[in-house]
């Protein structure tokens, strides 16, 4: 284990080891790790290759904004999933992840040749060439271009998993369960408004929950401590629903939003069985002035 790991946060349970495979090699992390944090803790930094020039890529962020650390999960023909961000996937017992867009492997990638000839293939180069001789476009050039298309691989057999969807109506929808989101949701719910708070992470609290030193204080307490109390309090409010592992996917007119809730992607393979994998929430939040301005 490299010493990149920050010990003593309660969000990683260091008593519970979880083993997983990355590119065929066995590693272990702890319960609460994302694939990205577990890989970093194991000293693995090279995760993928860039789309065109196949330049080496590592982990750059810690959430849905991750542009680099994108993996193929699983190798079963029906269950494999392409283009999963390592920063979003929680590790589970039996997880198998693979680097993408490289051959034969991520460290030595033949496609890296593209990087060497990158001066020849600037943005939009294909509009300027491959026109002669004409018959070569169909037989040679385009097949070559298509060979280098794509990042991950599509499954090749039908998906055995189950999915669900549901319409819900709320007075207030709060997107993002950080400090401000939690307080907004609390105030809304206490003002007798039916409120939904969604966050894409497994716990709400945002980055505040990690702030446990004297530089971050609210009401003379470490802000993580302070927020913990608030989180505890909102869990008792009747007309406030909190959905974690839920990310907003679309904003349509009249405050109609779509959210994807991940229900089993973090569970071990045997615990996933017979459960709904994801649920699409079709959320209608009450029309507000703000949304009108958005219109």
């Amino acid at each position: 284990m490299s010493d990149l790991r920050v010990h003593k946060t309660k969000y990683i349970n260091e008593t519970k080891r979880v083993s997983f495979k990355y590119d065929g090699k066995n590693y272990f992390g702890y319960e609460g790790d994302t694939l990205a944090s577990a890989l970093l803790a194991n000293g693995v930094h090279l995760i993928g290759r860039s789309f065109k020039y196949h330049r080496p890529r590592g982990i750059m962020s810690c959430g849905s904004e991750e542009p680099n650390a994108i993996c193929q999960i699983g190798d079963k023909k029906d269950l494999t999933e392409p283009n999963v961000r390592a920063t979003e996937l929680e590790i589970y017992e039996g997880l198998e992840a693979f680097s993408q867009n490289c051959w034969p492997n991520v460290k030595f990638d033949i496609g890296g040749i593209n990087n060497l000839i990158s001066p020849l293939i600037p943005a939009g180069f294909y509009y300027k060439t491959f026109m002669w001789p004409k018959s070569f476009w169909k037989k040679v050039y385009e097949p070559l271009i298509r060979m280098s298309a794509g990042l991950g691989k599509s499954p090749t057999e039908p998906d055995p998993d189950m999915y669900d969807h549901k319409y819900v109506h709320y007075d207030v929808l709060v997107i993002g369960g950080g400090l401000s989101g939690i307080i907004s949701a609390k105030i809304a719910a206490k003002s007798n408004l039916k409120t939904l708070l969604v966050d894409d992470k497994k716990t709400i609290g945002g980055s505040t929950i990690y702030q446990s030193n004297d530089s971050f204080k609210i009401d003379d307490q470490h802000s993580s401590k302070w927020l913990e109390k608030e989180i505890n309090e909102i869990s008792k409010i009747d007309n406030l629903t909190v959905k974690t592992r839920t990310s907003i996917a679309a904003y349509h007119r009249y405050n109609y939003l779509l959210a994807r809730e991940n229900l089993t992607d973090h569970l071990s393979i045997k615990d996933k069985k017979d459960k709904i994998r994801q649920r699409l929430w079709k959320i209608r939040a009450k029309k507000s002035n703000r949304s009108d301005r958005r219109n």
């Binding site: 969807h165 319409y167 819900v168 209608r284």
Partner: protein, 182 residues
């Protein structure tokens, strides 16, 4: 040939949802606007048709659901359904006060009971049940899983759902399926 099959309802007690077929019951569609129309309906059914949208009214034997400003559905359990229909028909349709149509075979009534019934419906229905579930007697026409339905809130967490016979089998399968995964 006329389809007179009823949907098979199995596994009807799942996750505190009880689904049961409420058949046979009689259903009559009433349309009219005139004073005489309301008077005749009142006389035959001893019932005042609801004039407020999305509501219903009832008398000892009959339930009447508002469908549109000049249209209602009356449903009732009756061993001799034709008697009521014939009475209404001769007092209203025949004398052009309005129209009376027997729709007993067209629509099927399914009863849903239990604290999770609205969770099931919400899986395929964009209707906002917040008010509906709080008030006994409310009714609504909407879509559940792409199928037209009429819903009637009998009392707390107990609703009658009406669906066209040809869609009923499919809807029941869907309801059962959804009930497994609330």
């Amino acid at each position: 040939m006329l389809n007179t099959h009823y949907p098979q309802i199995t596994d009807n007690k799942l996750n505190d949802v009880e689904i049961s077929l409420q058949e046979p019951i009689s259903k009559i569609n009433l349309r009219g606007k005139s004073k005489e129309f309301f008077a005749k309906v009142g006389k035959v059914l001893s019932l005042i048709l609801p004039n407020e949208a999305n509501t219903s009214s009832f008398s000892e034997n009959f339930n009447a659901i508002w469908l549109s400003p000049d249209e209602w559905m009356v449903y009732f359990k009756n061993d001799d359904e034709k008697v009521i229909f014939n009475k209404l028909y001769s007092e209203i349709s025949k004398v052009n006060y309005g129209s009376v149509t027997d729709i007993s075979d067209q629509w099927i009534c399914i009863n849903l009971k239990g604290s999770k019934i609205y969770d099931i419906l919400s899986a395929g229905c964009s209707f906002n049940f917040d008010q509906f579930l709080k008030t006994d007697g409310l009714s609504t026409q909407t879509i559940v899983n792409h199928i037209d339905v009429i819903l009637h809130n009998k009392n707390t967490y107990n609703i009658n759902l009406f669906v066209r016979r040809s869609f009923s089998e499919h809807l029941c399968l869907w309801l059962n399926d959804s009930a497994k995964f609330i």
